[in-house]
Subunit: 125 residues, 2 copies
């Protein structure tokens, strides 16, 4: 890895719309996702929107995890930003796909903070 940070952008489609609107279930799943990756949780902040949708962030010592849900579209966006390459984000990804009951999902990795690069543009892995 050339970047200071590794940022995983996860897309979860065709999820359970019920789960995507349950703050407590989502908060528990996101905290579990942080734990299985080996992250140290500092704070968890979740917010329920009306009429639907949840947004939540788990601040961890290694950076953060964030989720935004659109129950009406069965979609959730999850970000896992880490400054530690040892984080097992793949296990978090699999855990969340299962927890959200997502039938279609993918992720993309983006390196952040390319301080040793001559051209400091964002680059995909």
């Amino acid at each position: 890895m050339n970047g200071l940070g590794l940022h995983i952008l996860m897309e979860f489609y065709e999820c359970s719309d019920t789960i995507l609107n349950k703050l407590d279930v989502l908060e528990e799943s996101m905290n579990e996702a942080a734990n299985v990756a080996g992250a140290t949780i500092i704070k968890s902040v979740f917010h329920q929107f009306a009429p639907q949708g949840v947004t939540g962030v788990v601040v961890v010592a290694e950076s953060h995890l964030a989720i935004h849900t659109w129950p009406e579209h069965g979609y959730a966006a999850v970000d896992f930003f880490t400054c530690n390459t040892d984080m097992d984000y793949l296990t978090s990804y699999q855990l969340l796909a299962k927890a959200l009951n997502s039938k279609v999902h993918n992720y993309k990795s983006v390196e952040r903070g390319l301080i040793n690069s001559n051209i400091k543009q964002l680059d995909e892995l």
Copy 2:
């Protein structure tokens, strides 16, 4: 925009190392960045690391803003995730570049939640 969310990944290089380690200044700047974009702040959570570095998240009604700083490298990563296309993220970007005293900076936009796309892969603008 085809996505449900618009995610702006900002890179700030060659910043003031002093500012990148000042939690109060960073929290104020990030809250200001949310305000100038037209976002409604729900909660702001910032954490100071030892020996250096700050991580912080501003949860807004339109999603979130996050910052992670590496004072030792003069670098800060900022994310502005929004589900509202009317957010003026460019003004936030310019405000932060100035607040961090960044000499080299760039950003990239990524559409999230391509529910109307046949191929639900992340795509760059």
